[in-house]
Subunit: 91 residues, 4 copies
């Protein structure tokens, strides 16, 4: 991962860790379940942002490198790995 | 939320908090981006399990109560609120 | 399904059928892949709207009936079936 | 799109068109709503397969071409476009 991406991703994950802590407190304080569900959806959305940031960096660097200097086999492997990773992102 | 659900949900969220901490370390140690993506997908899947558990409890209690003792207006409101919450779960 | 819902859902599905036909033509005319992907996303979004409409009707009728006149076993079964259906909607 | 991909995608879309027709009949015959929801989920899953096939082809060809012979600006544009397309796939 590129250094600027790593810092940005680290900062986001730190915030997400805090959000999960907030969720725990909501549950302990027995807050209304629909409010808890709304907050969980917010955490998942934040994780999606992180995924997109990492993915963008990955395509722009690792995948790009394979296309500019890797073998055909290596390129195929990178594309397949990427498509698989994208498939997991959807779930 | 029912007490047993609250305990189960709390335990899961505690584990998820730890997983996010693990993600942070993976990023700091500059681990391969696809491995980080795989781990993020695992955290989101764990959050989905929590959502399903809360949702099941919510339907079985709050929504059920509205149908057995609430007014028609209250019932409609509960159904709409539930459908909206489900819509947010999908994102 | 309630009659008004059935008509609305039928009309939407008719439109979706046409959209899939449009997709087929886009592919045959060798249109740019990202435009095809955008159009597929639109079809999936339309299917989601149909799902929400059916789900809302289902909760307001079938699930409501179970809560007002079904046995505890029947109610449990309806809640579990609903949570499972919601789980499938997310994929 | 590569010719083999185009044929495979076309065949899948043809099948999906038939599935949507089947859905229409289920609704007209007033089949149980949860069964309709299950079938809609199957159609969406089939559309996802098509998306993955197109995406894999797109990365292996259009994106690869940008990396092997495009300018830095063109490469950036392709990566951004791809990440956006992936973002839409998740919804």
């Amino acid at each position: 991962m590129h250094e600027a991406t790593r810092d940005a991703v680290g900062a986001r994950l730190k915030r997400i860790e805090g959000q999960v802590g907030g969720l725990l407190r909501m549950v302990e304080e027995d807050r209304y379940c629909v409010d808890v569900l709304t907050q969980i959806a917010a955490v998942r959305a934040a994780l999606h942002k992180v995924e997109e940031q990492i993915l963008s960096d990955h395509i722009g660097h690792c995948v790009a490198d394979a296309f500019t200097s890797g073998s055909a086999v290596e390129q195929r492997r990178k594309v397949d790995e990427l498509v698989e990773a994208i498939g997991r992102m959807r779930r």
